[in-house]
């Protein structure tokens, strides 16, 4: 992950949720580089920096040493819960917000329990690392739904009252609006197609799973939506204060999942799962959704054939920039979604565009091309599409990708008046 500097600390976490690691977030003193604090995401409360100040909103998150007791014995030591995504900082309350990754292994039968504190959001005091609250989006995660996605901190009206909220489009397909002071879920609405859960119970805060879609060892469960890569993976959305909309680049995929017993062997993947991924209902694989958080519904959607694996960028000129995996860099109207401009680059785009004013006073938009990652490994790592479980099944979803792009890696900078 890219480190974040906030409140005089350099924040950095670990990755490797598929390898049986134990997730943590560390804060280094920005001046000296010394370790200020380190918060684990599994294990005893003192490791997780849970103390007197910890006030989770829901009863399911209250109790002593849940990071041990919500796991089978010793399993928390290799239970994942990594921090490889985005951290948001609220200077007013001196709080950071970040999500934790999936529990390991993927085969959920090997880890009965809620698997605290994986697949959820922490609010921490940035100076001490002390946890303020926690909300678990996927207790006992079934589908590798890391919860590391971005959080957008807004002050907006909810049910007629101004609230300090934290908005996060989750991997499990729900757009959560949380009270960022307490961790209460104010609303959770699906922004993509979901059939593996029936919604979020706002009273208990728990996801309501669909029994038939629960993976079973030794048996393939078909047509689970969203996939392990989620309704939206790591690629961050954008908020425009001008339109009041959140622009969510996400994917529309479903999967077959088969789980089997995973053995923990140091240095090897700790998964116990095989999957096959394919396009969801409608046949398109990528979506750019403009979400109206106040009205709790999409304003407009743009469908993309290939999975949308780049970040979105909203500008003051009411444009939304994003890139596609076949190498188109696009700008759409922020209010209508109409395509305003596009340019072809040498390889697929899976990065986040940025806009800036150059030293010469001109405005530029920059993006890095170069397809890869989970979605693009077929091209970048030359995987073999004859195996439709390759790259944990993602290869199956993008087997047309080699015909549409090639691997690359260049920075493209476009001048706005050029």
């Amino acid at each position: 992950m890219a480190p974040l500097v906030a409140g005089g600390k350099v924040l950095v976490g670990n990755a490797g949720g598929e390898f049986g690691v134990r997730g943590w977030l560390a804060a280094l003193d920005a001046g000296s580089g010394r370790l200020a604090w380190k918060a684990y995401n599994t294990g005893p409360d003192k490791d997780v920096l849970i103390g007197q100040a910890f006030r989770p909103f829901y009863p399911m998150d209250r109790g002593k040493d849940l990071g041990i007791h919500s796991w089978p014995p010793e399993q928390w030591k290799i239970g994942g819960g990594t921090v490889w995504g985005w951290i948001s900082f609220d200077p007013a309350s001196n709080t950071i917000f970040y999500g934790t990754g999936n529990p390991g292994p993927w085969n959920h039968e090997q880890r009965p329990g809620d698997n605290k504190w994986t697949a959820g959001v922490f609010a921490r005091n940035v100076s001490t690392g002390e946890a303020k609250w926690f909300y678990q989006t996927s207790p006992h995660d079934l589908y590798d739904h890391d919860d590391i996605n971005e959080q957008i901190l807004l002050d907006m009206p909810v049910a007629g009252r101004m609230r300090l909220v934290l908005i996060r489009p989750g991997r499990n397909g729900y757009l959560y609006v949380l009270d960022r002071q307490t961790g209460q879920v104010l609303s959770a609405d699906p922004f993509g197609y979901i059939n593996s859960s029936r919604g979020v119970n706002l009273r208990s805060g728990r996801l309501i799973p669909v029994k038939e879609k629960e993976p079973q060892a030794g048996r393939v469960v078909r047509n689970i939506c969203p996939t392990a890569s989620g309704a939206k993976d790591w690629n961050p959305s954008a908020f425009s204060p001008r339109t009041g909309l959140i622009y969510i680049p996400h994917i529309n995929l479903c999967m077959d999942l088969g789980v089997l017993e995973a053995n923990y062997v140091v240095g090897t993947p700790y998964l116990g799962a095989e999957s096959k991924v394919y396009a969801g209902p409608g046949g398109y694989r990528g979506v750019l959704t403009a979400w109206d958080p106040v009205a709790r519904k999409p304003a407009w959607e743009v469908h993309e054939d290939l999975p949308l694996w780049s970040g979105a960028l909203a500008t003051a000129g009411d444009l939304v920039f994003y890139g596609t995996m076949d190498g188109w860099f696009k700008a759409v109207d922020a209010r209508s979604g109409k395509l305003r401009w596009r340019a072809k680059v040498d390889s697929g785009i899976i990065s986040q565009p940025v806009a800036y004013r150059g030293a010469d006073g001109r405005e530029y938009v920059a993006v890095i091309s170069g397809v890869g990652g989970w979605a693009g490994a077929l091209v970048s790592a030359q995987l073999d599409p004859r195996d439709n479980s390759a790259a944990l099944g993602f290869v199956n979803a993008v087997r047309d990708l080699p015909n549409k792009t090639k691997s690359g890696g260049r920075l493209f900078v476009f001048a706005l008046d050029g």
């Binding site: 030794g218 048996r219 393939v220 088969g258 089997l260």
Partner: protein, 641 residues
């Protein structure tokens, strides 16, 4: 008006009798001379001989394998054969005995006896009969050549997946087993169809269903059972080959296949199979008992009903082989009840035979000794069967030597003892000579006592917890003595079989020449010479009771009017056996052999590539078309003026 002489007369009748009739019929029905005639023959007796000799060859081979196993198990922790070889050996033993010996030999007896018992000139569909033998032979050779090449199957005679599936048994061992099953299924189905058609349509005039000999009844029931049960296993083995060759998912639970599906399909065949093997024994025993006690068998209608009841019940209790897989309570209760219900018709049969012996004037000759041995052994096996039908005991004894002891008591006791009696009894019909009574009795005692010595100790071994299909056992578990006893018994038993074979080989050349009816038996098969001529009967007999030869000792009524210059059969009505039609019977042909060769190529190649099914079907189609090609009108009948 012309008077036709004996040479031109087209039909048998008063004017065509004795030597002249024999010469004409012999010319029409005799097979061609030499090897060509041997290959192309459609005479049911020739093919049955072949079947029986081949089946006994497989019995010897399978028996030798069991001796090797007993040698390995004679002492604990023995290293005589490797576990890999042992797996192949017990699989080969079971497979050979069930698929290559027991079913074929029982069907061969039917092929030989049924047309004679019902007074017909040949079996129905005689070319299919020839074809079935070649298929059976090819399947047996496939299996044994593979075994000699060290690629014999090694997953047990029932080859449960996942062990037999592509993950745990890659290679060709299991494919060879599965395709051998296909071969023998084709052969068995063909014979069954012939037998049913023969019994229902070719009975001698007057032989109503209620007058059929018991063995014919049994053959009818068994053939119908084969027709209903065997397709299940042929389908299952094809599924297995598809799983193993082209990666289908029939038996893969991960992809929503079902490993238990195999067990259901296999035992839906496998359990009736046990009765398919046992019921002919019922037929043999009934015939032998009647002849050697010199009275009609007691309770004929009861025996017939019992046979039919067993045939029906056999299809309702296959799940008792699967008690250890976990079933719903109702399933346990139902299949336990069904399994125990079989004891009722079996018990009725036993009492009928005891009553027959009790009431008759028994002549204690070898065949009747085998009957007594059968009753003793089968009752013991039946009682352990009732024990195993109860779920708690079954869960305790499942896959132990107790089960091994049980099914050998039922199968050897219920089928092999009657078979040995039957061979002795009908030996004069096969060869024209009697078997030596002295050697026969000696071999009987070796077989009977050897059998008990071999398998009785296995009950104890099983109760002590000795598992089946494991190549050795540790010292100090108290298994040494029972195993040593069993091994000694196995060699005694083998000596008995060897004496039986020596007896039959010697008697074939030097035995007392038997007349047409050496035992003074009552059935139609004894109404013709020993061995019967190619046309079986000079005139088709007419039947008016269940015991035609006892009712008409001197002069069996006959009917005349069948052609002598062409192969012609008399068809009668199904229920009352009233004369119905005259039907031509096919001439010898080499096409069944060619069809069998092309089918063999197809079946064996399909182990290696799925395309064989497509390309291999072309030569099969060609041979079948040639086989069925219309031959034009039969020789026109000379007009009698």
């Amino acid at each position: 008006m012309n008077v036709l002489s004996g040479k031109e007369l087209p039909r048998d009748g008063e004017m065509l009798q004795g030597e002249a009739l024999h010469a004409r019929l012999d010319k029409t029905w005799r097979r061609d001379p030499g090897l060509w005639g041997w290959v192309t023959t459609t005479d049911h007796k020739d093919i049955a001989h072949r079947y029986i000799v081949t089946a006994f060859t497989f019995l010897v081979l399978g028996g030798l394998l069991s001796l090797v196993m007993r040698l390995q198990l004679a002492t604990p922790e023995s290293g005589l054969i490797s576990p890999d070889r042992y797996d192949q050996i017990f699989t080969m033993h079971g497979t050979t005995m069930m698929f290559l010996f027991a079913v074929p030999v029982m069907e061969a007896m039917a092929v030989f006896l049924v047309p004679l018992m019902i007074g017909s000139r040949n079996i129905a569909f005689p070319r299919l009969n020839a074809f079935s033998y070649w298929m059976y032979l090819a399947g047996g050779i496939l299996l044994w050549v593979a075994f000699i090449l060290n690629i014999g199957p090694d997953a047990g005679w029932f080859s449960y997946p996942p062990l037999s599936g592509p993950q745990f048994s890659p290679g060709k061992r299991i494919d060879i087993w599965a395709q051998m099953v296909t071969f023998t299924e084709v052969a068995a189905l063909a014979v069954s169809v012939e037998t049913v058609a023969t019994i229902l349509k070719q009975r001698a005039p007057g032989m109503t269903l209620a007058r059929m000999p018991l063995f014919v009844w049994v053959s009818l029931v068994v053939s119908l059972m084969v027709i209903f049960s065997m397709p299940a296993v042929a389908l299952a083995s094809s599924f297995l080959i598809a799983d193993r060759l082209v990666g289908t998912q029939f038996f893969n639970p991960a992809e929503h296949g079902d490993a238990l599906l195999w067990q259901h399909m296999f035992w839906f065949f496998g359990h009736p199979e046990v009765y398919i093997i046992f019921l002919p024994g019922v037929g043999f025993v009934s015939e032998i008992t009647a002849t050697f006690t010199r009275r009609p068998v007691f309770g004929y209608p009861l025996l017939v009903l019992a046979v039919v009841a067993i045939g029906l019940l056999a299809f309702g209790l296959w799940v008792h082989h699967m008690f250890a897989t976990g079933l719903p309570r109702l399933g346990y209760a139902f299949y336990t009840a069904a399994s125990m219900a079989v004891a009722i018709p079996s018990g009725i049969q036993i009492f009928c035979w005891i009553a027959t012996i009790w009431d008759g004037r028994p002549r204690w000759e070898t065949p009747l000794l085998y009957v007594v041995a059968f009753i003793i052994t089968f009752v013991i096996g039946g009682l352990t069967g009732v024990m195993l039908a109860s779920v708690p005991l079954d869960l305790e004894l499942h896959d132990t030597y107790f089960v091994v002891a049980h099914f050998h008591y039922v199968l050897i006791g219920g089928a092999v003892f009657p078979l040995l009696g039957a061979i002795t009894y009908w030996f004069p019909k096969f060869t024209g000579r009697l078997m030596s009574e002295r050697l026969g009795k000696t071999s009987f005692w070796f077989v009977f006592l050897g059998f008990q010595l071999t398998f009785a100790p296995m009950h104890w071994a099983g109760i002590l917890g000795m598992p089946r299909r494991v190549y050795t056992y540790p010292t100090g578990l108290g298994l040494e003595q029972v195993n040593l006893l069993a091994t000694i018994g196995a060699f005694v038993l083998a000596t008995g079989f060897a004496l039986f074979l020596v007896n039959s080989l010697m008697s074939m050349r030097r035995g007392t020449v038997a007349g047409a009816n050496p035992w003074d038996a009552s059935g139609l098969e004894w109404a013709t010479s020993s061995p019967p001529p190619p046309y079986n009967f000079p005139h088709i007999p007419v039947v008016s009771s269940r015991h035609p030869l006892w009712d008409h000792r001197d002069h069996l009524p006959v009917m005349t009017g069948l052609r002598v210059d062409d192969r012609e059969l008399l068809l009668t009505t199904v229920m009352e056996a009233r004369p119905d039609l005259r039907e031509p019977s096919p001439l010898p042909s080499s096409w069944p052999l060619w069809a069998a060769i092309t089918s063999t190529i197809l079946f064996i190649s399909s182990i290696f590539t799925p395309w064989a099914v497509l390309y291999g079907s072309v030569p099969v189609a060609i041979t079948l078309i040639a086989w069925f090609w219309p031959k034009g009108p039969v020789t026109p009948e000379p007009v009698i003026q």
